[in-house]
């Protein structure tokens, strides 16, 4: 059952990312990305991280991608996107990506087999996470709130239309 769920969610995730790459329409790209992030939330759930899974679905698939869809609506490129004329960029990016893939896999290959993940079934429950968040990681947590305030004010300042003199 677990394997079936994993391969189903992984297929959906990779397929949605491929659909985002292939799609010419920005709104469709954003919706494909919502699907990819939602299935990744399911993968987080399979990894004993229920709280992170819920946060992923609410914040990523909910908030951030809705923000993207809003921006797509505001920008509203009618004529569609230009096709990629330069074929060599595609080839070079494929080669670079493949090299990076091999590099990461080779670098991690010695340890991959030892990643059994058999121990500690219920470490990820929200009680433990919240306790850790408010004791050892208290200062980063508070600093993050300052970061969010700064981002909010920054976005308002950036997008404010200049008053007519």
């Amino acid at each position: 059952m677990g394997h079936f769920l994993f391969f189903l969610l992984a297929t959906i995730c990779v397929g949605a990312v491929l659909g985002m790459i292939i799609s010419r329409n920005q709104a469709y790209s954003a919706l494909f990305l919502v699907l990819a992030f939602a299935s990744m939330g399911g993968l987080f759930g399979l990894l004993n991280a229920p709280f992170i899974a819920v946060v992923q679905i609410i914040i990523y698939a909910g908030a951030i991608m809705v923000l993207f869809v809003f921006v797509v609506m505001m920008i509203n490129v009618r004529e569609g996107l230009p096709s990629e004329k330069k074929k060599w960029i595609f080839a070079v990016s494929l080669i670079l990506a493949f090299v990076l893939f091999l590099e990461i896999i080779l670098a991690a290959s010695g340890r991959l087999s030892s990643l059994s993940g058999a121990e500690a079934a219920d470490i990820g429950n929200p009680t433990n996470l919240g306790r850790l968040l408010f004791t050892r990681y208290l200062y980063p947590f508070e600093i993050t709130s300052i970061l969010i305030i700064a981002a909010l004010v920054g976005a308002l300042v950036l997008l404010k239309k200049k008053a007519k003199e």
């Binding site: 993968l43 990523y60 893939f101 993050t144």
Partner: protein, 100 residues
């Protein structure tokens, strides 16, 4: 029991796909989306390794990454909207003010 290495390999695949999308897309908005894909692939790697080591710290880091990604998305989209207001285009070929 699914081995954590499966999740790790999936995260590498997603990261590489994000890089390919970043290079072959020609407008700012979808390039920004591919940056989000790469962030999510990193999250998946963190969580799979957190499970493999039996520690919660990886999940905490992912929590912070999601928060920072939200802030980054807000600022990035604001900048993209500003560029669109000034240039009436978000194609990367049109943004060549600093090209020699």
């Amino acid at each position: 029991m699914i081995p954590s290495s499966y999740f790790f390999i999936l995260s590498v695949v997603l990261f590489v796909l994000g890089i390919i999308a970043f290079f072959i897309k020609r407008d700012l908005l979808t390039q920004f989306m591919s940056v989000e894909i790469m962030l999510n692939a990193a999250n998946l790697a963190f969580i799979s390794l957190a499970k493999a080591t039996g520690s919660l710290d990886g999940q905490i880091i992912v929590f912070f990454i999601i928060t920072v990604a939200a802030a980054e998305a807000v600022i990035g989209l604001a900048i993209i909207l500003l560029i669109f207001r000034q240039k009436k285009s978000i194609r990367t070929e049109d943004i060549n003010l600093m090209k020699g």
